[in-house]
Amino acid sequence: MSIGMTEFPVHPGLVLIGGGVLLAALHGRARAAAILALPLLTLCLIWALPDGAVWRDELLGYAITPLAVDNLSRLFATIFAIMAFGGGLFALDQPSRIEVPAAFVYAGSAIGVTLAGDLITLFVFWELMAIGSTLVIWSAGTRASYAASLRYLMIHLLGGVVLFAGITGHIADTGDVAFVRMAPDTVAHWLILAGFLINAGAPPLSAWLPDAYPEASWSGMVFLSAFTTKAAVYVLLRGFPGTELLIWIGLFMVLYGIVFALLENDMRRILAYSIVNQVGFMVTGIGIGTEMALNGAAAHAFTHIIYKALLLMSAGSVLLMTGRRKCSELGGLFHTMPAATICGIIGALAISSFPLTSGFVSKSMISQAAADGHMLYVWMLLAAASAGVFLHAGIKFPWFVFFQKDSGLRPPDPSGHMRWAMYLFSFLCIAMGVWPEPLYGLLPYPAQYEPYTAAHVVTQLQLLLFSGLAFFVMLGYLKRTPTITLDADWTYRVLLTRLSRHAMRLARRAIALATATTAAILQHATALIERERSPNGLLVRTGSTRGMALWVMVMLVSYLVLYYV
């Protein structure tokens, strides 16, 4: 491979992937040290990269750029590396030897996606991400996680095929592999958009996310929440900004996430639906497509990764210490788990965009962009959804897990490094909320946004506090029941299974019928032949010579006639 550079910068994503593979062989302190050091090394390498196309090469006659950097890719690569560090710190005790190495391969591939300057490189890392994440789910080691990981892989391989078809078409159409801004104007671009949207958790296949992620281990879901959907947000930001369809897809995701989360009883499925909801805000921002909206989507991806990981660390601590995941079996845990409770509340406040938390300084940019563009309905739906976020994630999660009725459970807080991971991410949630300038400095466009105006603080507090009032006033309607809610995964888990069983039954019946009919026909034929081979039968008796001559003549005449026709 010839690299078009005088010096040779290392690819940060490949370092994390390679390190992850080696990590599987390490034990004890060396393993722990490597888990903490690898993401930090990756982060340093990301920041050491110069802007522009860093690696250039040629593949199959196409000019590829496996390593290219700008503000947008650096922002996402940075948050992915921070996430790998926080998740690794949280998962130091994870008994599975596969999970953290798989998670690092997964994180490294996500970084590879953000640093890919061409579609071929992007596709390779995209598929590696699917493999890494499937292994993370699978490594939980339960029957349910095995089945869920296969369903998850099925959907992502499907998405991969769609994306690959799109990329091939794009290359055939344009002769260029560079990953540039596109519009849904050709079949190839529609396929690329569909491949991206499947990973973003967009309809109609969004159910893969709440189906698979909550089956991962207590630490596995912390990793899973961050990379796949946000890598999809990144590629949409770069590939399809300003595509109006994305506004409506995003708004659907926002509302779908809230309604299904409100119905959910499993604490981590609540948070999984909440991922779809949050990615919906980002997709809407990408659809609006102004600099303010795109900055908002990018900033929101950054802050979201941290507070969603924090919420899942809090939920993961509860799962590890109690072995329970259903809200109907939890409650009253604040008595003995103060760290998980307080960190969970900080994550809940951040996801709800309370002033002084990270969500407040990021999500509001998207609403602001809708208002600036005079999109009344988009703006109102975003405001309603912001209220709904507080409802389903901001209050529902902490209330039903840590408060509500006392379940009598008195588990202690988790071990030291798990708490430290939560403290670190809690700190980041508040620090970014209080001091947003460093985050704004990382955004793809020059940020001219001031979140802390009196009007913004007052209106946001009105929205949130009255949502809180609605929650407690209507608590009776939100009572947890040991139920699940059918989602689109029902079509391939039940409907298609049922249909294929019916088809099999029909096929079996058809085969049986055909066999019986053939046997009957054969039997009749045999009997007929037997009969005609008897002394007086047609095949044995002798005919007259005159008759034979007549028949031969008839045949010859018909031959003559046929010949001239």
Binding site: L263, L391, I484
Partner: protein
């Protein structure tokens, strides 16, 4: 079992009262602060308060209605994924 201060009904009532005062304060604050409306509807007094409340009520009712149709016991998939 040592009781947490949140287990005390007196403190809970106090928290509720603080919350209700908070609601009143953020609505009253609109008298002192111009909210820079972008449209006609958010110029209505206390828009974010009543809109937030109504939006949440609507979302809860929508979820409830959807639940009637799509809720199943949580053992529903247990024997179907083999």
């Amino acid at each position: 079992m040592n009781r947490h201060w949140l287990d005390d009904p007196i403190n809970m009532r106090l928290l509720w009262r603080v919350f209700l005062y908070g609601l009143a304060v953020v609505v009253a604050a609109e008298l002192a602060v111009s909210t820079h409306p972008h449209f006609a509807i958010d110029a209505v007094f206390g828009f974010h308060a009543w809109f937030g409340f109504l939006a949440c009520a609507a979302l809860i009712l929508a979820a409830k209605a959807l639940g009637l149709l799509l809720k199943r016991p949580d053992t529903y998939y247990e024997h179907r994924d083999d």
